[in-house]
């Protein structure tokens, strides 16, 4: 078994950072456990787990009242399917010993060799804990995708899609970026908490799905969110959970975790404000849905950077995330695809901006604290990092888009992937789940 990838991950937080270096070998006995770090990661796991229902509420509130249960139900489906796949197969494909850099080996199949009381992979925390923490990221990624094809896509088709996609899209990308895959051999790149793996991946997957599934029918009253307080609750849970998402990605209770929390808060607030301001200048009034969406965009933007930049960079990243995602949403009607809840605009574009911004702004002093010694942003002369970021973003985006496109196309050959017109009018809640969300 090759535990060589462990040290950098442990040291760096979950990240792509890979510079060619001789990895010190780890004894078979593994690392010592660090109970404070274990506590922090247990908490972070719970926080990130809460983000998945947070997404469901954030999304469901934006839909018309006839599509609420279906969004909640699809999210429950993700909870079920992604959990079961991850613990049986996904985790080992992502974090098992690398097979030619492409995918992890089957050493951890069915959580074999994944002890809850010993630490081999990440210094200080047991392997089973790392596995569970990573599961929560897989859940978030899959749940994010659902927003693009809301109100029209059959649950059964989505279920099959998620099963295949978890195995052939998510797990390999996680392997390349965080699991010691081929990226490290070719690129210098940084992804602290999942800008590529989570956000770009979900954003482009969402786009591919939206294209293939097609637009919602004209009988659906779009752009009339049925319950904005629900969106706000979802947004609040996301903001809250993101402290575990970014803070926990330090994989230790240390200064990098603290810094990640600081920049997360700053970026979210800046992006929310930027969105509100542009909205005010553009349309005359700052929408609250917009400000909440802006906050999410800011959280997305800072995700890859959170362990590598300081507070002032966070303001820049937040402002950029707010502005670029706003612009994409505003131009959305030009898009052929009906990305119902702006998954690509917020997570795709926000993730790409965050990854590039990391390449531009990464502060040498902080990257070195984060274990990525010598890696630095473009403005500090770090050309290799900047191009590495572009390359990993590009590869991830293309791979996720193409494979997702193929998967859903193939599924569509064997079954209906969307409701028919009459069903769509009645709404997915009654048709697929036999439940109305409200009787108020």
């Amino acid at each position: 078994m090759k535990y060589g990838i462990a040290k950098p991950i442990a040291a760096l937080g979950v990240l792509t950072f890979i510079v060619s270096m001789a990895l010190p070998s780890v004894s078979a006995a593994g690392y010592d456990l660090d109970t404070a770090s274990m506590t922090w990661i247990m908490v972070s796991t719970a926080l990130v787990l809460l983000m998945t229902p947070g997404i469901a509420l954030f999304y469901a509130g934006m839909l018309r009242k006839e599509s609420v249960m279906s969004m909640l139900g699809q999210t429950m489906m993700v909870m079920v399917v992604v959990t079961l796949i991850w613990v049986t197969l996904g985790y080992t494909l992502a974090f098992g010993p690398s097979q030619a850099g492409l995918v992890g080996g089957l050493d951890y199949l069915l959580l074999n060799n994944t002890p809850y009381g010993e630490s081999f992979l990440v210094e200080g925390i047991p392997d089973a804990q790392f596995m569970l923490f990573q599961l929560t990221f897989a859940l978030v990624t899959a749940a994010l995708v659902l927003g693009a094809v809301a109100e029209r896509t059959k649950l059964k088709a989505l279920l099959i899609f998620i099963v295949i996609w978890s195995i052939v899209v998510y797990a390999p990308i996680a392997h390349w970026v965080w699991g010691g895959g081929w990226f490290e051999d070719y690129f210098v790149s940084l992804d602290f908490a999942g800008g590529t793996v989570v956000h770009i991946c979900s954003g482009v997957t969402a786009l591919a799905l939206a294209i293939v599934v097609g637009r919602r029918g004209s009988s659906i009253q779009k752009d009339r969110p049925h319950n904005l307080p629900l969106v706000f609750i979802g947004g609040a849970l996301l903001w809250f959970g993101w402290f575990g998402f970014n803070g926990g990605s330090a994989l230790a209770a240390d200064g990098i975790a603290v810094n990640a929390m600081v920049v997360t808060q700053i970026s979210a607030a800046t992006a929310a404000g930027t969105w509100g301001l542009i909205n005010y200048l553009h349309l005359g009034r700052p929408g609250v849905l917009g400000m909440v969406t802006g906050a999410v965009a800011g959280l997305v933007g800072i995700t890859p950077a959170a362990g590598f930049v300081g507070p002032m960079e966070a303001i820049i990243i937040g402002a950029g995330a707010g502005a670029f995602c706003y612009a994409t949403v505003a131009l959305k009607h030009k898009l052929k695809a009906d990305d119902a809840l702006d998954v690509f605009a917020v997570h795709g574009v926000g993730g790409i901006w965050g990854a590039l911004a990391t390449g531009i702004l990464a502060v040498p002093a902080i990257t070195s604290d984060a274990g990525a010694d010598g890696v630095k942003g473009l403005i500090y002369g770090g050309y290799d990092l900047f191009f590495g970021q572009i390359a990993t973003v590009g590869v991830t985006a293309i791979y996720a888009f193409v494979i997702s496109f193929i998967i859903i196309k193939v599924i569509a050959m064997f079954m209906d992937i969307r409701l028919d017109k009459k069903e769509e009018m009645i709404g997915q809640d009654l048709i697929e789940h036999g439940e109305a969300a409200y009787d108020i």
Binding site: Y280, L281, H282, L283, G284, R285
Partner: protein, 111 residues
Amino acid sequence: MIKIEAVIRPERLKPVKEALTEIGINAMTIYNVKGRGEQAGLEFTARTGLFRIDELPKVKIEIVVEDQDEEKVVDSILLAARTGEMGDGKIFVTPVHRAVKIRTGDEWRYS
């Protein structure tokens, strides 16, 4: 028999109910509606220009009474619902052929 339908401001519902109780009219049916008046709503200013809100929340009450009670009911609603500002609403009087009390099955007349 007639049905008196009044579309009023939500905040005038309580005074209207009290006024009707005073003249001995208890029974009524109430529901929330949205209304456009003759001016098709109200206009406001935002940074980028004017905008119009054309559906305003109103409450509709329906009261079925004997023909001879028309005046006193209408007057009493008028008095209690009026603020004198735009948007006070309207009262419509329509004919009713017949009324039946479900509990007894008897024809019903307002006592």
